[in-house]
């Protein structure tokens, strides 16, 4: 008995240690890949680090890579990082062990570009004008400086559950385009729904609402070293409308108010009539909730202007790359000749207008609103200070939702915290 207990204790200690190691899986990956990087000295090979967002994307990546390898004879070593991708990349650069090519989110791009660790790709990429301007412009930092090339993008659009809407006596045509009218509609709709259904889902992070600031002519992280949430009081009306909706109950947060993992899951399970989400939900909606009847329309207009959020991800080459030329030819293939294959297999949207036309995306009723938003959407990226600014916003906006602070107070507190942190830097 005694021995059993002791060995149980030992096993648990080992399990705990193992659990501790799992916590920083990203750094574990690094040491593992270290060796791979070292053996890759014979030249002509490209190390590629990507974020493994889904098995479908991973498969698509592997297949597109094989097409590239057949075409050029250059070998690509693919390395998939599951979680906190951008942090893992930061750590790799700190350890002087950066991959040749890696995904770069527009959100983190300014930090990487200003640190001078990226290879300038200006003049190396074919047919640059074909990309949707907002998607590629976030990776430029001057006339002749281009540090990443978009691989795909997502935009927000309004998803509507047609079954719920019909049961409540409405149709998709009844949904107004203007934000304020949409909220009034949601309020009205809520009265005709079941108790456990929400008229509209919302996400309170800044990433979903940055365009509302931009729409009012205010870029919270636009000025270097300063955060600004408050200089335009009109923004307050917009955020107040979210709080009003949450209090009245017609806007709900899927995780906090409903206890459902994600907006897509709540929508798919017929718990919500409308949600504003990116095209990343489509594959889950089609596969896991195949009975669902839904329609997609463009994001609501604010102040009469079209707006949406765009999330752009590109390929970047690290400055220390020993396989610069191979890396660039890989990027050229993936964002041009191989782009259609990648987009079709992964289900992502191609950042090139010509490929979007070739794939007839505007004829696809589900994708068309997303593609249309590529032109006018606000890309989730700004100055180098955006990570600090957005962390401060996410920290304090909850207080406004709780009713502990007014919107004005919360925005002021977030601005003060972000500015204090920027001063310390």
């Amino acid at each position: 008995m005694n021995k059993f207990i002791k060995s149980l204790g030992l096993v648990s200690t080992i399990a705990l240690l193992a659990a501790c190691n799992n916590d920083d899986g990203a750094t574990d990956n690094d040491t593992g890949d270290n060796e791979e990087g070292v053996t890759n000295e014979n030249g002509g090979n490209v190390n590629l680090a990507v974020w493994g967002s889904s098995p479908a994307e991973t498969n698509a990546m592997e297949e597109t890579i094989s097409s590239f390898e057949e075409e050029t004879g250059i070998e690509v070593e693919l390395e998939i990082i599951q979680d906190n991708f951008q942090d893992a990349m930061t750590a790799r650069f700190a350890a002087n062990n950066a991959p040749d090519v890696f995904y770069l989110e527009a959100f983190a791009a300014p930090m990487f570009m200003e640190s001078g660790v990226l290879e300038n790709l200006s003049g190396e990429i074919d047919d640059v004008d074909d990309f949707f301007d907002p998607l590629i412009d976030v990776f430029r930092s001057g006339e002749d400086e281009l540090y990443a090339v978009p691989k795909d993008y997502s935009t927000l659009a309004l998803y509507v559950n047609e079954d719920i809407l019909e049961a409540a006596g409405y149709s998709v045509e009844d949904i107004p385009r203007d934000w304020d009218d949409l909220l009034a509609f949601a309020d009205e709709l809520q009265d005709n729904l079941e108790d456990d259904q929400a008229a509209m889902l919302f996400d309170q992070s800044l990433a979903r609402h940055y365009s509302a600031f931009i729409n009012n002519g205010l870029d919270p992280a636009g000025e270097e070293g300063r955060a600004d949430f408050t200089s335009n009081p009109e923004v307050i009306d917009y955020f107040q409308s979210i709080i009003d909706g949450k209090e009245a109950g017609y806007m709900q947060n899927p995780q906090i108010d409903m206890g459902i993992d994600s907006a897509g899951a709540a929508f798919g399970a017929n718990k919500a009539a409308m949600m504003m989400e990116g095209n990343w939900v489509i594959s889950a909606l089609n596969q896991e909730y195949s009975d669902l009847n839904y329609a997609v329309v463009e994001s609501p207009t604010i102040n009469g202007e079209e707006q949406s959020m765009t999330f752009s991800v590109g390929y970047a080459v690290s400055k220390d790359s020993e396989n610069r030329d191979e890396a660039i030819s890989f990027i050229n293939y993936m964002t041009n000749a191989g782009l259609k294959q990648w987009s079709e297999l992964s289900g992502t949207l191609p950042p090139r207008g010509s490929i979007a036309d070739e794939m007839n995306l505007l004829d696809n009723p589900v994708l068309a609103p997303h593609v249309a938003a590529a032109d006018y959407g606000t890309v989730w990226s700004s100055g180098e200070s955006l990570p600090i600014v957005s962390a401060a916003f996410d920290n304090y906006f909850q207080a406004a939702i709780n009713g502990d602070m007014t919107v004005e107070e919360a925005l002021q507190a977030a601005e003060d915290e972000a500015n204090a942190e920027l001063d310390r830097r």
Binding site: L8, A19, D23, S205, D394, R424, R425
Partner: protein, 293 residues
């Protein structure tokens, strides 16, 4: 003399692999962090400028440091005594001759084996505004409480979760200690007329002191380093209103959100000093040196 030297060499050889691992993975990183905390470092490009003790000044003047200090200290002060007491009581119960104690032991050990990330997601599901706990409380009392978004309660969810998942581990440690206590001590005390409760306080607890010291120390070290639960619950922000900002989450934010490795190293050093101080105090209070010989 020669034999002694031979023994020494033998000992060194046996220690070498572990010592090497400790030097490479523990001593060198600590030394490097010690060096980095006097610099302003851009993690990405690796450029650094010497700024002396400025990093410490910046940390002290940061309200988020004080929020992290308050949260983490509250966390330690609440969690460690409760988890130690519950673990001890459960171990004592299991050690008595109740039926099916092996079954209880197995079932109760499961939370420790569950990964803390999975545990956090389960607790977030239990405590969400439409979740089991909130609805039960509303049914019983008529009051609707919010846990995850309420700055006063968000941390307590993490506390409950931590107690739930660490108690079984410490319970097993206590249980092995209990089974090492010689039965003749209990016989002698019962002949002297001691009740079960007096036996517990005057035989069991003094005999368990070395184990108790281990449990409290590991509890303090573990709770000061709380990270993953707070990270998942707040999505990495430490919100709402810095209510779940712990020391390690603060360090993470300094390194990866503010891209300031120097300040993150300085903060790690401060955390190290705090843990060291707490452990030293526990050592003094519990007289660990004497009882361990």
């Amino acid at each position: 003399m020669r034999k002694k030297r031979k023994n020494n060499i033998q000992g060194l050889i046996f220690m070498a692999p572990a010592a090497l691992a400790a030097i490479v993975f523990i001593v060198v990183p600590i030394a490097y962090a010690f060096f980095m905390m006097f610099f302003n470092i851009n993690l990405l490009s690796g450029t650094r400028t010497f700024i002396g003790f400025d990093n410490f000044g910046k940390i002290i003047s940061d309200p988020r440091f004080w929020a992290a200090l308050r949260n983490t200290t509250t966390y330690v002060v609440v969690v460690v005594p409760i988890q130690t007491a519950i673990a001890l009581i459960m171990a004592a119960l299991l050690n008595s001759k109740i039926k099916f104690n092996r079954v209880f032991l197995t079932v109760m050990f499961i939370p420790t084996l569950t990964s803390s990330s999975a545990m956090t997601l389960i607790f977030m599901w239990l405590f969400n505004n439409n979740g089991l706990i909130v609805n039960q409380i509303e049914q019983l009392t008529g009051i609707r409480t919010q846990f995850l978004t309420n700055p006063d309660l968000a941390l307590s969810v993490i506390m409950i979760m931590n107690i739930f998942s660490t108690v079984p581990h410490f319970m097993v440690v206590f249980l092995s200690g209990l089974q090492d206590i010689p039965t003749n001590l209990y016989e002698a005390s019962s002949i002297d007329g001691a009740s079960k409760i007096r036996q517990f306080f005057h035989v069991t607890i003094p005999q368990l002191m070395p184990i108790l010291f281990y449990v409290v120390t590991m509890g303090v070290v573990g709770t000061f380093q709380i990270f993953d639960q707070a990270f998942i619950l707040s999505g990495g922000t430490g919100g709402p209103q810095n209510a779940t900002l712990t020391f390690t989450l603060y360090i993470y934010q300094l390194a990866f959100t503010s891209n300031d490795m120097g300040r993150a190293s300085a903060m790690s050093f401060i955390l190290g000093v705090i843990i060291f101080t707490f452990t030293a105090i526990i050592n003094k209070v519990m007289k660990a040196d004497e009882m361990n010989g």
